[in-house]
């Protein structure tokens, strides 16, 4: 019963949600919307478990004086300060801590956002190093990839068009890069997307039918 009940619930709700895709009537759409809204409440409780895990993992490392433990102290302090300020900001006003001008918003905008932007900016350097490896020509396929990439990169900037302006239109870099993007690239992308969509359906069906039940965990 411990496994049968969740399996039955999953199957019934899964089939109901599939039904809601085809039947827009309020007898189906209203309960379907309600089910999706309840997920938000479940997630809210999940954050409590997540927060407890963050405290447990980091306080455990601090107590054991694991390498880098002072950073974990900083993390725990930052977590507690952010939560406390968020709660205090949320009490007196409507809209709570998300309001413009709150201390929580200030922490998010002035502390977190610049740090996130800094990390994101590193992507440019990582792309450069990855591209350097990707375009090393060792095989015929790699050569093909490198040539196609060169055409696309040059064809998308004004200098590429200027370099080949004297050629017939079909052989200009801008035209060639557009052809590569519209046909070979698009065809491959759509093939992957169709395959992935069928994979999504197959996985969903396996879960609904209870064939895929590892998400329930527990003893076998």
């Amino acid at each position: 019963m411990k496994r049968e009940l969740p399996l039955l619930t999953t199957a019934l709700i899964g089939l109901f949600m599939i039904l809601s895709f085809f039947v827009p009537h309020e007898w189906v759409s209203v309960p379907a919307d309600f089910l999706q809204a309840t997920a938000i409440i479940l997630v809210a409780f999940g954050y409590v478990l997540g927060g407890a895990n963050v405290l447990r993992v980091n306080l455990d490392a601090v107590s054991k004086r694991a390498p880098g433990w002072p950073y974990k102290v900083l993390l725990v302090v930052a977590l507690l300060v952010t939560v406390i300020i968020g709660v205090l900001d949320g009490i007196p006003r409507e809209g709570g801590f998300l309001n413009a001008g709150t201390r929580s918003k200030w922490i998010y905008d002035q502390v977190y956002s610049p740090m996130a932007a800094t990390l994101f900016a590193l992507l440019a350097f990582f792309i450069a190093s990855a591209a350097f490896r990707a375009f090393r020509i060792r095989t015929a396929e790699a050569a093909f990839l490198a040539i196609a990439a060169l055409i696309v990169m040059l064809g998308r900037v004004p200098i590429g068009d200027r370099m080949t302006a004297w050629l017939p239109h079909a052989f200009q870099l801008g035209t060639m890069q557009q052809w590569i993007m519209d046909f070979p690239q698009n065809a491959a992308k759509r093939a992957i997307l169709i395959g992935a969509a069928l994979g999504v359906m197959a996985t969903g069906l396996r879960v609904i039918l209870g064939v895929e039940r590892s998400y329930l965990s527990g003893e076998e």
Binding site: H25, N53, K189, A196, Y215, E219
Partner: protein, 407 residues
């Protein structure tokens, strides 16, 4: 001047909201122009615009009775360069005599509006007022009653229904066939085979395995697929007595991952090896997650990194950092735009559907493998449909294409 006043007064009497909308629109439109303070207001110079006409409305089909669509003929004064119409105010009332309520306003040159704020099975009357710098011209007629009703079936989705029924049929047939002892053939997927190789290597090196189930919540099916693979990976790490670290970005996948890893150690008869801190909740914030995971990669130096799920801009940040540590890396995602990054930075990459096939492949369960064959058969049908569609479109026969369109 007098004509304009006569045009305005009835409008003001019936709905102040319309006047407010007109004033707001006029103010917005006038804000961009520099005018001397002493200039005569444009409203005193320009006559009010001619009214919109031909208002018709209908229930939006294939919905739950939550919208009505309206369309009208533009005011004759609403033409490019004339600047005599600023927009249209859409009003509705339960009765032709009112009271009228402003629903919304739309810009000039707009002749269509969908009212998504209606109650189902309720009658509404509509009118459209034309707004201009010279004043407001009330609607000459009222349209109604219009009623939004629920549809029992979305008739644009017949093709999807047929495909879904076929798919379910194929999958159930192949699952039953596999259960009766006819195990279907599945091609070798090097990326999935590499998972065990990577865990073996981590074991030999005496280092841990890092598993990332993507950065989205459980409502993303890629996260579900990643977690299913995690169970198989955790069984292998339990078997090889190798530590595993699983940083998770959302709380629900975190609780599921924690249970899965614990159950995998339990089912592998190694409950004493299970580390309660092996599955860690990090943060749903994308770059906070990146910072934490790259920190784990650089501090703990896991020998194998397994990325299975939905990844976005962080894919290359994670994979390149992992590459710099010398770890063997296996990735799988159905996010097409991130696949090139993983292909470049990882040793093996599962592309699209291979991610969803991985759990069936790893478990070897005939029923799961049977479901893959069902998907393959539908894929053949899709290819056939594409070819048939191309031929029919070339012959200017559009019925099949229209039947396949869902929007």
């Amino acid at each position: 001047m007098g004509r304009m006043r006569r045009g305005c007064v009835p409008g003001a009497g019936r709905g102040r909201a319309v006047l407010l909308a007109a004033a707001a629109l006029a103010a917005l439109a006038g804000a961009g122009r520099a005018q001397p303070r002493a200039a005569v207001p444009p409203a005193l110079l320009a006559p009010p615009p001619a009214p919109a006409s031909g208002l018709i409305g209908d229930d939006v089909s294939n919905d739950a009775g939550r919208a009505l669509t309206l369309s009208w003929k533009l005011s004759p004064d609403d033409s490019v360069g004339l600047h005599r119409v600023r927009g249209y105010a859409i009003e509705r009332a339960p009765d032709p005599s009112g009271p009228w309520q402003l629903v919304d306003s739309v810009a000039a040159r707009t002749a269509r509006f969908v009212d998504q704020s209606v109650r189902r099975n309720t009658d509404y009357f509509y009118r459209v007022t034309t707004l201009g710098p010279g004043g407001i011209t009330p609607a000459r007629s009222v349209t109604g009653p219009l009623r939004a009703t629920s549809s029992w079936f979305n008739d644009r989705r017949y093709s999807v229904l047929v495909a879904t029924i076929l798919f379910f049929g194929f999958v159930l047939y192949f699952m039953a066939s596999a259960q009766s002892g006819k195990k279907p053939f599945v091609r070798r997927i090097p990326g999935i085979n590499a998972i065990e190789e990577a865990i073996g290597r981590a074991t030999e090196m005496g280092r841990s395995v890092l598993f990332l189930p993507g950065i989205l919540d459980i409502d993303e099916i890629q996260t579900v697929a990643g977690l299913v693979i995690l169970e198989n990976v955790a069984k292998l790490t339990a078997k090889y007595e190798t530590p595993i670290t699983v940083p998770v970005s959302y709380p629900i996948p975190f609780t599921i991952a924690e249970e899965m890893v614990r159950a995998a150690y339990l089912n592998s008869a190694r409950p004493e090896l299970y580390d309660p801190t092996s599955v860690r909740f990090i943060s749903p914030e994308q770059f906070a997650y990146v910072a934490a995971v790259t920190g784990i990669m650089l501090r703990d130096r896991p020998a194998a990194h397994i990325f299975m799920g939905a990844f976005f801009a962080e894919s290359l940040l994670l994979a390149e950092t992992g590459f710099s540590t010398g770890a063997i890396q296996v990735a799988g995602t159905a996010n097409v735009h991130q696949l090139p990054f993983f292909v470049v930075a990882c040793d093996y990459t599962l592309i699209g559907e291979e991610l969803y096939a991985a759990s069936a492949y790893l478990s070897g369960d005939p029923k799961l493998v049977g479901s893959l064959k069902g998907a393959d058969l539908l894929k053949i049908l899709i290819i056939a449909s594409i070819i048939i569609g191309c031929v029919l479109e070339t012959l200017r026969i559009h019925g099949f294409t229209h039947w396949m369109q869902t929007q």
